[in-house]
C-alpha cells in the first residue's frame, strides 16, 4: 500500500471520519462526550500497548502516569491559579519523570513480579495523593471551571493527541527502536546477546508510554475540570481498564487500542443507558457484567483481540454467509 506521510490511505480515511464524527452524530454534546472518552482511552491504550504489547512489560499501574499527569495540570492551578492548560506541557513531562524513578525500581522485576510491582506503585501513589492534603487537597479533589461549554475544542484536542500517539507508535515500530522493543518482548536474553541494552530500551519504552499516559491525564483535568485521587489513580477504572482496552482490541497491534477503546466505551454506554433508553431499565445494571463477560470470551477464543485475530473473525463471519446462501 502506498504511503502518504507516515500513514496508509485507509488510515487517513479513518482519521478523516474521526474528524467529521462530531457532526455526523447530530452534534449532540452527549455523543461528542462519548467520542472524547473513546479518544482518551485510545491514548491510554496506545501508551500501555507500546510498553506491554510491543515491549512485553505488562504494566498493571498505568494509572500512576495518568494520575500524575492530571495532577501536574491541577496542582499549579490549585495553589497558584496557573491554568491547567499548561498541563499539556507539564503532564507528559511529570509522567516521564515519575516513570524514570519507577523504572529504576520495577525493571528489576520480570513477568508476574513486574505486574505486581507496577500495581503496587499505582496503589501507593493513590494513597499518597489522598493523604498529602497540603499538596493535593486530598480527597476534596481539585476543581476547575472548564474553559469551553462546547465539546468541539476538546474533541479536536484529544483527536490530535490520539493521532499523535498512533503515529508515534507506528513510526517507532518501523524503526530500530521498535525492533529492539519487540526483541525484548520476545526474548530478553537473546536481545542482550545481540548487543541490545535491554534496561535502557525498556526505560525508553516506559518514557514514551508514560508521556502519553500523562498527557491523557492532563487532558482529563482540562476537560473534566475535576481530579481526585480515587478517580485518576484508580486501580480498576484506569489501570485495569487500560489493559482490557488493549486486550479487546489487540495487544501489539497499531489499531488494537483504538478498536478496543471504541468497543469498551460503547458497550458500557449501550448497556448503562439501557440501549439509549430503548431497552428496559434493568439492562443498565448489566453494563459492567457484559463487558466482563466479553473480556473472558475474548481471552478464551480471540486472545489476539479484534485486530490481532481479525483473520479468524473474518473467516467465521464468511463461513456463516456461505451457510446462509446454501
Amino acid at each position: 500500500m502506498k504511503k502518504y506521510l507516515l500513514l496508509e490511505k485507509r488510515e487517513w480515511i479513518i482519521l478523516g471520519g474521526a474528524a467529521l464524527a462530531p457532526w455526523i452524530f447530530g452534534f449532540s454534546p452527549y455523543f461528542q462526550g462519548l467520542l472524547i472518552l473513546v479518544l482518551m482511552w485510545v491514548v491510554l491504550g496506545n501508551s500501555w500497548n507500546l510498553l506491554a504489547g510491543y515491549t512485553g512489560q505488562v504494566s498493571f499501574g498505568h494509572a500512576a502516569f495518568f494520575g500524575i499527569g492530571a495532577y501536574a495540570a491541577a496542582i499549579p492551578y490549585h495553589h497558584f491559579k496557573i491554568s491547567p492548560w499548561w498541563g499539556l506541557l507539564t503532564g507528559g513531562l511529570a509522567a516521564v519523570i515519575l516513570g524514570y524513578f519507577l523504572g529504576k525500581l520495577v525493571f528489576r522485576l520480570r513477568g508476574p513480579y513486574f505486574a505486581l510491582g507496577t500495581l503496587a506503585s499505582g496503589e501507593i501513589l493513590r494513597l499518597l495523593f489522598g493523604e498529602e492534603e497540603w499538596l493535593t487537597n486530598g480527597h476534596n479533589g481539585i476543581l476547575y471551571m472548564t474553559t469551553f461549554i462546547s465539546k468541539i475544542p476538546y474533541y479536536y484536542l484529544i483527536l490530535f493527541i490520539a493521532m499523535g500517539s498512533l503515529v508515534a507508535v507506528k513510526v517507532i515500530m518501523k524503526s530500530k527502536l521498535g525492533f529492539y522493543f519487540l526483541s525484548i518482548r520476545e526474548d530478553q536474553e537473546a536481545a542482550e546477546a545481540l548487543g541490545i541494552d535491554t534496561t535502557k530500551y525498556k526505560n525508553i519504552a516506559l518514557a514514551i508510554s508514560s508521556f502519553f499516559a500523562g498527557l491523557a491525564g492532563a487532558f482529563y483535568m482540562i476537560y473534566m475540570g475535576f481530579v481526585d485521587p480515587e478517580v485518576v489513580f484508580a486501580l480498576h477504572n484506569i489501570s485495569i481498564l487500560t489493559i482490557l482496552v488493549g486486550i479487546i482490541g489487540g495487544v501489539g497491534t497499531i489499531w488494537g487500542p483504538a478498536v478496543g477503546a471504541l468497543i469498551m466505551v460503547f458497550i458500557q454506554e449501550l448497556f448503562r443507558s439501557s440501549f439509549f433508553g430503548v431497552g428496559p431499565q434493568w439492562v443498565s445494571q448489566l453494563h459492567s457484567l457484559v463487558f466482563g463477560a466479553l473480556v473472558v470470551v475474548m481471552i478464551l477464543y480471540l486472545a489476539g483481540g479484534v485486530v490481532g485475530d481479525w483473520d479468524i473473525i473474518r473467516k467465521k463471519f464468511g463461513k456463516k454467509r456461505v451457510e446462509g446462501q446454501g
Binding site: I24, F25, G26, S28, P29, Y30, F31, G33, G130, E131, E133, G138, H139, N140, G141, L143, M145, T146, I149, M224, G225, F226, D228, E230, V231, S273, F276, G277, V278, S284, Q285
Partner: protein, 409 residues
C-alpha cells in the same frame, strides 16, 4: 465491508433519532442525580423512594401547572466523574430544565460545576461541603447571585453541629475531645468545622485523625481514646464504618463521656442494626427528626414506612429529598415558563414550608442561594432514635451521664 458500513450507518441514524428528545406537553421532566449503586446506594435508595413518594402525591393533587411531574434519575455511582457525565446527559440528552438530588459532597460539588456551566438550576438536597454554595469556588463573586445556578436546601457541613454546640454548652463537664473522620470531602470538612465549634466551646481537641472507608480494624485509632481519655469522641462516618467503630469501641471498653456522630451514618437504621447494642446511647447531630413540630414531618415519616419498609424508617436524608420535590414543584409553578432561566428566577423567590422545615434561599458569609436552618441532636435510646435537643422541642430527656459498662452488658 459494505455491510459493516451499512450497519454502522443505520446505527448512527438510530442514535440520532434517540438523541433528539421528543417534546412532550403532558409532562415536565426534572433530573435527579443520586448514587443508586455503589457504596452509598443505601442513601440513594432512601432518597429515591422519597422523591417518588412526593411525586405520586404531587401528581395525585393535579401535578404541576396541569402537567405530570416526572423525575429522570441518573446514577452517579458515588463517583464524581460519573456524576458529571450523568449531569451532562440529563442536560443535553434528556434536556431537563432543572436538576435536583446530589448526595455525596464530592460528587455534588463536581456535578454542580456542570450545572453552573450549562446554566441549569441545581437544587442540592444533601451534598453538604460548604464550598458548594460559595460562588468563589465557581470563579464568581458574592454579588453574582443572578449568575449563580446552585441552590441548597440542607445546611452546609460547617453548621451540622450548630445544634450540638448548644447541647454541649449545657454539659459543663465536657472539656476535651478527639475527632475521627473518614478521609472524604465530607469527613475532612466536617472535622475541621467541629474543631472550630470546639474552640468556641472551650473544648480542647487532642487529635484529629482520618481513616479510609472500609477499614476492617479500627483499633489503632480507638486506642488513642484509651490512651488520651478525652471526654468526647466525635466521629464522621457512613453507616458500616460507624457500626464497626462503635462495635470495636465497645470491645475495647472505651469510656469517654460521650460518643457523638456527625449525622450521616449515625442516624441510619442500618447503623443500629449492625452495631446492635454498641449503638445504644450514642448521640448524633441531625438535620431533622420525625417528631419535630414541622407540618408534614410525621405524615411523611408514616407515609414512607407504610409505602416501603417498616424496618428501615427514613432519617433526615429521606425528608431532604421529599422536601426538595416540593420546592421543585413550587418553583416551577411560580415560573413564567418551563425554561431554566425562569425556574431560576422563581427559585430566588422561594419562601415556603416543607416537611423538612422552612425553605428560603439567602446570602450570608461567603454563601449565596443557601437555606439557613437549625440543626438538632438525637440519641439512640432503647433502640429508638429520639430527639433530645433543642430542649423545648424534645419529648425525651437526654441520657447523661452514661454508664457504658451498664449499657454494653
Amino acid at each position: 465491508m459494505k455491510r459493516i458500513i451499512a450497519i454502522s450507518f443505520a446505527l448512527f441514524m438510530l442514535l440520532n433519532l434517540i438523541g433528539c428528545a421528543k417534546d412532550d406537553n403532558s409532562s415536565i421532566k426534572i433530573g435527579v442525580l443520586l448514587p443508586l449503586t455503589g457504596a452509598m446506594a443505601k442513601f440513594g435508595e432512601m432518597e429515591k423512594n422519597s422523591f417518588e413518594l412526593a411525586r405520586i402525591e404531587i401528581n395525585a393533587a393535579g401535578g404541576v401547572k396541569g402537567r405530570d411531574l416526572v423525575f429522570v434519575y441518573e446514577d452517579d455511582t458515588g463517583k464524581p466523574d460519573v456524576g458529571r457525565m450523568g449531569m451532562e446527559k440529563l442536560i443535553t440528552v434528556d434536556k431537563v430544565p432543572m436538576i435536583t438530588g446530589g448526595y455525596s459532597s464530592s460528587v455534588t460539588f463536581a456535578a454542580a460545576q456542570v450545572a453552573q456551566k450549562y446554566r441549569v438550576p441545581f437544587l442540592v438536597n444533601t451534598g453538604s461541603v460548604d464550598k458548594i454554595t460559595e460562588p468563589e469556588s465557581f470563579d464568581l463573586k458574592i454579588s453574582d447571585a443572578d449568575k449563580f445556578y446552585i441552590y441548597r436546601l440542607n445546611p452546609p457541613v460547617s453548621e451540622y453541629a450548630s445544634g450540638l454546640e448548644g447541647f454541649l454548652k449545657n454539659l459543663a463537664s465536657v472539656e476535651t475531645a478527639i475527632i475521627f473522620h473518614e478521609n472524604t470531602t465530607f469527613g475532612t470538612n466536617g472535622a475541621k468545622a467541629f474543631a472550630i465549634s470546639c474552640e468556641r466551646l472551650g473544648i480542647e481537641v487532642f487529635e484529629i485523625d482520618s481513616y479510609t472507608e472500609g477499614t476492617v480494624d479500627f483499633k489503632p485509632l480507638l486506642l488513642k481514646v484509651k490512651e488520651q481519655k478525652p471526654d468526647l469522641v466525635y466521629m464522621i462516618s457512613y453507616v458500616m464504618d460507624a457500626a464497626l467503630l462503635m462495635k470495636q469501641s465497645k470491645e475495647l471498653r472505651l469510656s469517654p463521656k460521650l460518643f457523638v456522630g456527625a449525622g450521616a451514618g449515625y442516624t441510619m437504621p442500618a447503623y443500629r442494626e449492625n452495631a446492635g447494642i454498641a449503638s445504644e446511647k450514642t448521640i448524633s447531630a441531625t438535620l431533622w427528626h420525625q417528631s419535630l413540630p414541622v407540618p408534614g414531618a410525621t405524615d411523611y415519616y408514616n407515609a414512607y414506612i407504610a409505602k416501603y419498609d417498616d424496618k428501615s424508617p427514613p432519617d433526615y436524608h429521606g425528608v431532604e429529598a421529599y422536601a426538595a420535590a416540593y420546592v421543585v414543584k413550587d418553583a416551577i409553578e411560580r415560573a413564567q415558563d418551563f425554561k431554566s432561566a425562569s425556574i431560576k428566577t422563581a427559585l430566588d423567590g422561594t419562601d415556603m414550608m416543607t416537611a423538612f422545615g422552612p425553605v428560603k434561599f439567602i446570602a450570608y458569609d461567603a454563601k449565596i442561594n443557601q437555606n439557613k436552618m437549625e440543626t438538632y441532636v438525637v440519641q439512640w435510646i432503647n433502640g429508638n432514635l429520639e430527639l433530645i435537643w433543642p430542649k423545648h422541642l424534645a419529648k425525651v430527656e437526654a441520657v447523661y451521664p452514661i454508664d457504658w459498662n451498664a449499657e454494653w452488658k
